[in-house]
Amino acid sequence: MPPSPDRTVDAADDEGRLIEKSRRGDAAAFTHLVSAHQGRVRAYIGGTVNRPEVVDDLAQEVFLSAFRSLETYKGEAPFGVWLLGIARHKTLMHLRHEVRRLARESRSLNLVLADLQVKVLEADEMLMARREREMAALQRCLERLPPQGAEMIAERYFRARSIADIAKASGKREGTVRMSLLRLRQVLRACVEQRLTKEQA
C-alpha cells in the first residue's frame, strides 16, 4: 500500500531534521539516513557492478562522501536522488579504473562489460530521479508475479540460496533455474518500464 500523504510529509520532515542534525556533525543522525537509503544506493551500484563485496565497498564510499559534503546539498533534489548522483560518480570512477586494469589483464568479457557500463553511466547523468522511481516500481511489480515465480525470486534473492541449492530442491537442472530467473527478470523489467511509462503519461 502506498504511504498516505500525511505519512509522506512526516517522513520528509524527519529526513529534513536528520539532514540538519547531520550537517551539524551528528554521525548518529546520518547513520539513520544511511539505513533509510542504503537499499537504493546498493541497487543503483549493483545495477552495473556484479560483485556484491564491491557494491558494498562502493556504497560505503558513497555515504562517506555524502557525509563529508553534506554542506553542498541544497535540497534542490530529493536527498535520495542526490545520493544516487554521488553513487553514479563513485561507480563511474570504479568502472573506469576497472577498464584500465582489465585492459592490462586482457579479460575480454569483463572488459567489454565494464566499458559498456561506463558508457551507460556517462549517459545516465540526468536519470537519477528515474532510478529512484524504478526501485519503487520494481517493488510493485514483485507483488504481481505469479506465485511460482515469486517463490523462485524469493529463494534466490531474499533467502540468498545458491542456484545449485534451488536446482536440487526443485529437481531441476542449474541451467534451467538460471534461465527461469532470467525470464522472471525480463518480466519484471517489462513491468517496471510499463509502470514508469504510465506514470510519465
Partner: protein, 525 residues
C-alpha cells in the same frame, strides 16, 4: 538473430551474471555479441540493473544493520584525529591541574589542536613555545604569553632533505614543503597520505625522517637549549649525532618524552601509546606527566600506553610486522591487532593501500592485511612479495592467488556462531587446539558474529574450517613454494585468517591463541 542463437547468448549471460564460470571461448562469444548488437546489449544491461535491485531488496535486516554499523565505525575512525586531540587536551589539562608539576603540558595543547583542527588562533608568527615554557616557580604553570606585535623572524633550525606529500605548519597556516626548504623555529612539518615522507636535517647532521601521515610540531633549537619537537602522531626515525653536554634532543609525544644524547631510534605514536625502538645507543623515556624515566638501549623497545605507569621495556625479538590497514588512525580491531603484535615483540609499522616499498620489505618479518583495507585499492600489489603474508580480508584471497582462480570465487564473509573446527590439530597454527572451538564473540549475541572464509587449493594446510561447511576454511596456510590456485608457487608463506573487522567483534582467548600461532607460523618462513 535466430531464436537458437539468442537462447545460447541468454544462457551465457545468465551464467555470467550468476558468477558461474565461462570458458574463454564462451567469454569471447558473449563479448563479441555485446559489442555488435545494441538491442542485446541494452537488454542484458537492463537485466543486470534488475538483478542489482533484487539483490539490494533481498538483503536481510541483519546485513543492513551490519552495513550501517560499518559506516558508523568508519565515521568514528575518521573523526579519531579530532577526538584524539580533544582527549589529549582534556587529559593534559586534568593532569596539569592535578599534579601541578608538568611545565610542558600546557604547551602541548595548541600543538595538538594544530594537527587535527588546523585552527590554532595564532595569527602572528611566534617563537618556539616549547622552548619558552614560562614556569615562574616550581609547581606554578601558566600558558605562554601571547605574541601581540611584530615578533622577530624566527631563525632556521633545520632543512628539508627530501619531501613527498609534506606540509609546513605555522600555527593555522599550511604551506607545501619542498626539498631544500628551510624550517623556521617553532614551525611544524606534517606528511599527508600513504606514500608521504620527509627528512629533516639539522646543521649538526642530526636527521629526523618522518614516515607517512606523521605530524612533527613546534620544532625548536637555539642558543642555550637543545633541539626539541612534539611528535603528535605517526612514525619518526632519528639518527642523532652526539649532542652538546646538558642540551639533549627532547622529543615529546602525547604520552611520553624521549631524551636523546646521540643514537639511532624510531618513535611511533598513535592515539593511545608511544613506542620507542632503539637501534643504537640509549634513550631515556618517561611519561610526559612526570615520573622516573626508563633507559632503553640498543635492540630494545619500550611502550608507554594509557594505563602504564612506566615504560614497559622488552627485547626486540620478532622483527618488524607491517600492517596494511584502511584507516591509518586505526579502526578498533586494527588497534587491538597492533597491540597484540607489539605484545608478541614485533615492531609494528602501519601502512595504507599504496604499492609496496621493496626496500622497506627487506626488513619486514611478516605482512598483515586487515579487512579494513579497501580491497579494490590493494588488488594484487602485494601478491608477489617474497615476505610472509597473513590476510583477513576475504576479497583479497583471490588477489593473492590463495583462492580462485576466478575473481571472488571461493571466499567470503558470513554471519556465524563464532566457531572454528580444527581439522589439523597437529599443525603449528592449531596451537594445540582440537575439535570445535569458539574463536569469535561479540560479547552478547553469538549468532551475529562475522567470520571470513576461503576455499584454498589442495596444497594448503586446512587448519580449521567452518563447522558444518567443510569447504569453507577459516584458517589455512601455504608453505613457501606451494602451488596456489592463482599462482604456481607461493612466494613466501601465506595465511588466511577468519578475523573480520567489526566494531563489536572480539576474539576469544582461543581466537587470540590461533592468531598468535598463525602470525608466528607465517613469520617462521
Amino acid at each position: 538473430m535466430s531464436d537458437d542463437r539468442r537462447t545460447r547468448l541468454e544462457e551465457l549471460w545468465a551464467r555470467w551474471l550468476s558468477a558461474a564460470p565461462l570458458e574463454p571461448g564462451e567469454q569471447e562469444e558473449l563479448a563479441a555479441a555485446l559489442a555488435d548488437d545494441e538491442e542485446l546489449r541494452n537488454e542484458f544491461l537492463g537485466d543486470q540493473r534488475i538483478e542489482g535491485a533484487l539483490c539490494a531488496l533481498g538483503r536481510g535486516a541483519s546485513e543492513d544493520d551490519a552495513f550501517a554499523r560499518r559506516f558508523a565505525e568508519r565515521i568514528a575512525a575518521e573523526r579519531d584525529g579530532r577526538r584524539f586531540v580533544s582527549a589529549v587536551e582534556r587529559q593534559l589539562t586534568a593532569q596539569v591541574r592535578a599534579s601541578g608539576r608538568s611545565r610542558r603540558a600546557w604547551l602541548l595543547l595548541p600543538a595538538a589542536a594544530a594537527i587535527a583542527l588546523g585552527a590554532v588562533a595564532l595569527r602572528t608568527r611566534r617563537p618556539a613555545p616549547i622552548a619558552q615554557a614560562p614556569a615562574t616557580e616550581e609547581g606554578a604553570v601558566r600558558a605562554p604569553a601571547p605574541v601581540t606585535d611584530l615578533a622577530p623572524r624566527p631563525t632556521t633550525v633545520a632543512r628539508l632533505d627530501s619531501a613527498s606529500g609534506a606540509l609546513f605548519l605555522d600555527g593555522a597556516r599550511q604551506m607545501e614543503a619542498a626539498a631544500g626548504a628551510p624550517l623556521p623555529a617553532g614551525w611544524g612539518l606534517m606528511t599527508v597520505g600513504p606514500d608521504s615522507a620527509a627528512v629533516l636535517s639539522f646543521p649538526d647532521r642530526t636527521s629526523l625522517a618522518l614516515g607517512s601521515d606523521t605530524a612533527l610540531l613546534q620544532v625548536g633549537a637555539g642558543e642555550g637549549r637543545g633541539k626539541e619537537a612534539f611528535l603528535a602522531r605517526g612514525q619518526l626515525t632519528a639518527e642523532v649525532t652526539p649532542q652538546p653536554p646538558g642540551r639533549p634532543l627532547l622529543l615529546t609525544t602525547p604520552q611520553a618524552q624521549a631524551t636523546v644524547v646521540g643514537t639511532r631510534f624510531t618513535l611511533t605514536v598513535d592515539r593511545h601509546s608511544t613506542r620507542l625502538d632503539v637501534a643504537q645507543g640509549g634513550v631515556r623515556l618517561g611519561r610526559v606527566t612526570g615520573g622516573p624515566p626508563t633507559v632503553v638501549t640498543a635492540s630494545q623497545y619500550a611502550v608507554i600506553a594509557d594505563g602504564n605507569s612506566q615504560a614497559v621495556v622488552r627485547a626486540q625479538a620478532r622483527g618488524v610486522a607491517l600492517m596494511l590497514v584502511g584507516t591509518l588512525s586505526l579502526q578498533y580491531d586494527d588497534e587491538w591487532v597492533k597491540r597484540r603484535l607489539e605484545g608478541l615483540g614485533y615492531a609494528v609499522r602501519v601502512r595504507g593501500s599504496g604499492p609496496p616499498d621493496l626496500t622497506e620489505l627487506e626488513n619486514v618479518s611478516v605482512i598483515l592485511v586487515s579487512s579494513s583495507v579497501f580491497s579494490l585499492d590493494l588488488h594484487t600489489q602485494y601478491r608477489d612479495v617474497p615476505v610472509p603474508v597473513m590476510v583477513w580480508e576475504p576479497s583479497l584471497y583471490d588477489d593473492f592467488g590463495m583462492t580462485g582462480p576466478e575473481e571472488n570465487k571461493g571466499c567470503g564473509v558470513a554471519a556465524s556462531v563464532g566457531e572454528a573446527l580444527i581439522r589439523e590439530p597437529g599443525h603449528p597454527m592449531a596451537a594445540g587446539l582440537d575439535g570445535a572451538v569458539t574463536v569469535v564473540t561479540n560479547g552478547h549475541d553469538l549468532h551475529h558474529v562475522w567470520m571470513s572464509y576461503g576455499t584454498p587449493g589442495p596444497a594448503a594446510a586446512w587448519v580449521a574450517t567452518w563447522p558444518g561447511r567443510p569447504n569453507r576454511a577459516v584458517l589455512f596456510g601455504y608453505e613457501r613454494g606451494a602451488p596456489m590456485p592463482g599462482l604456481p608457487a607461493a612466494p613466501a608463506r601465506r595465511v588466511g585468517f577468519f578475523f573480520y573487522d567489526d566494531g563489536r567483534l572480539h576474539l576469544t582467548d582461543a581466537g587470540w591463541t590461533l592468531f598468535d600461532a598463525a602470525v608466528t607460523w607465517a613469520a617462521g618462513r
